[in-house]
């Protein structure tokens, strides 16, 4: 489904300019890094990233930094507050004439799903509520991956993590459903929020382009296939991300002032196909197939899309 007035219609429309150098300390095949690299092409170089503790903290290890722009590491819970401080400081210094307006920067929060859904939810909610003019980029690898893949509230039902291992009591692994961060954010009615996937660079680029027209919170959740955590070969990240979209597991959508629109309507490949690509779901198929669990996952996907396709 093409977006109206899209700037990017095909892959070749995307800039060849890079703002993140290769050779970072992140894992090979990190889906989140690919999504960030694509986002940066639209954001440009006048950016300050405010990072929350997570995998991406390792992007900047003294004395190296892969970015062409600025970086501020804060803590796990308060990157949006850090963004507030920088935004406020830039605004007041420009207003007072202490800083030239051409020195202005886009403030971009970079955070994993653990910080976004759990420990940093309060500071994120507050920043959206204050109408902070910033970008928020959540790389969602669906667990605390940097510490070895423990359950977060973004972990999907049925996934194995190091703290929700399948066993006698809970053979399905994670019992809880993935928290609906998109809807939590949407309740704040920010000017722009969207989900993106590194498998859909044109969709991603158009969303960042569209967001730049709005002043206020511009929020993104990027699906971030995680080779070591999800347990798959590092060359498959993009394929797995694409499958997540094609099965309907990862809906690509946006909301402008709370109005939701899906930007890709999938053809609904079987959910099982997606689950089988990653060993974090291996226990659903071996040694015996947990049909009920797989059915629950299917049902959740169906119910989600019924709501939108019917309306």
């Amino acid at each position: 489904m093409s977006m109206k007035n899209a700037v990017y219609t095909k892959f070749k429309d995307i800039s060849r300019e890079e703002h993140i150098s290769p050779g970072t300390a992140l894992c090979t095949g990190c889906g989140g890094l690919l999504a960030l690299r694509l986002a940066y092409k639209v954001l440009g170089e006048n950016v300050v990233i405010v990072n929350a503790a997570g995998c991406f903290t390792l992007l900047s290890v003294y004395p190296y930094n892969p970015f062409s722009s600025s970086w501020m590491y804060t803590a796990m819970a308060s990157a949006p507050a850090g963004a507030q401080g920088i935004r406020d400081a830039l605004d007041i210094l420009i207003k007072k004439g202490k800083l030239k307006s051409e020195e202005n920067l886009k403030v971009v929060v970079l955070t994993g799903d653990g910080a976004a859904n759990d420990i940093g939810l309060q500071s994120t909610s507050a920043a959206i509520h204050r109408g902070l003019d910033f970008h928020y980029f959540c790389y969602d690898n669906e667990a605390y991956s940097n510490t070895g893949f423990q359950m977060s509230s973004a972990t999907p039902y049925g996934s194995r993590t190091a703290t929700s291992l399948p066993g006698e009591i809970n053979p399905q692994g994670t019992v809880q459903r993935k928290k609906d961060l998109f809807e939590i954010w949407r309740a704040h009615k920010p000017p722009y929020l969207a989900t993106v996937s590194p498998s859909h660079p044109v969709d991603l680029s158009n969303k960042f382009e569209k967001a730049s027209k709005f002043e206020g919170p511009k929020l993104f959740i990027a699906l971030s296939p995680c080779p070591p955590g999800w347990s798959f070969g590092a060359s498959n990240s993009v394929n797995i991300a694409r499958l997540a979209v094609q099965t309907g597991i990862w809906p690509l959508k946006e909301a402008v002032y709370g109005e939701v629109k899906h930007t890709v309507i999938p053809k609904f490949k079987p959910v099982e196909k997606y689950l089988r690509t990653q060993n974090r779901y291996n226990h659903l198929f071996n040694p015996v197939k947990q049909v009920d669990v797989i059915d629950n996952i299917k049902k959740d996907v169906e119910q989600y899309w019924e709501r939108y396709l019917d309306s």
């Binding site: 970015f67 400081a89 210094l93 051409e102």
Partner: protein
Amino acid sequence: MVKEMLTGNYAAAWGARLSEVDYVPAFPITPQTEIIETLSQWINDGEMNAKFTNMDSEHSMITAAGTAAATGARVFSATSSQGLLYGYEMLYNVTGWRVPLVLVNVSRGLSAPITLEPDHNDILSTRDSGFIQIHAETCQEVLDTILMAYRIAEDERVLLPVLINMDGFYLSFTREPVEIPCKDAVSRFLPEYNPKHAFFKASKPMSQGVAVLGGSAYSYFKYQMHLASLNVLTVHDEVAGEFKRIFGRSYSATEAFKIDDAEYVIIMSNSFTIKGKAAVNKFREKGLKAGLLRLRLIRPFPSTELKAFLRGKKAVAVIDQNISPGSGGILFKDVTTALYHDPDRPERILSFIGGLGGKDIGHAEFKHIVEEMEKSIETGIVPETQLLYTKNDLEHINNLLNIAGNPLEGLEN
């Protein structure tokens, strides 16, 4: 110059206003709230050209303060007690970022049990964070110290944030005559902030708060903070000297009260010092050679100065308005460490805990302290740490316990 009757909180707000701060991120907590309310109003009315932002917690507030300071703004904020602890993680972060912001803590005892009146467990829990710490005795000192704090923090030899402590209620809500310095004098003392090392701007990308791997890098940056903190011992005196020249008021790292010929010295900090000074005056009337030292600069700790003041004294008693359960008074250790290697150190150093949760320290308690010092000199026995707790206090708590009833009653059958 006319003096006005100001609360400690209002004096703190004046300190920030006169320092022409650019940014105030804020979160309310008793007994600090009047500071941010006042600043909010002034900024809203256009009397201060600054940005005020209501934050969602002290953790967020200190984060925003730090990143704004790293961007090059002069930043002020205030908190108390639980709030300081809620933002604790960020205290260590902002010192590591080497940003020269100023934070006022209005002391209040820590929960549980939750309470309102002051002691210093809140502020002293942050003593190892790298913040410079200055503890104030009067409302005037609160205002003056804020002006000095920016000079100290922004000095290239320091570049560390400053925490200024004042006691909740005893200063925060108590009006005292305060001289509000004129703007011209302040700008001669504290010029506009033009940072050399703090910026986030398009033309000059910077990385801040970057991770380090391995102990050699970590040790290097941590020790830099220690060395920078030690520089404050020099910088503070320079700044205080200039402050005296312009404003006429004099502050030293440690305040000595009737110390020169004193044989018995009481060491205290913050607003209760005024009670100690009154006690010393009474002792002097009776011919006892008593004196008092007020610890003002707590971090860095002015060991050399302290040693010089206490050389040859008979006995010293430290009153800690804090408690480290299982260990005793916190500042007692700093004092004894400073004195240990001095060949002419006082013969006895006694430790007392008093004023917890704002409990009064009356003259009877000061009298007890002096008697204990004398007794210790006579007998050669140094008593264990003692809690200053009077018969009245005991009666009071016994009344409360009676009203509350015995929780085990009725459970026997």
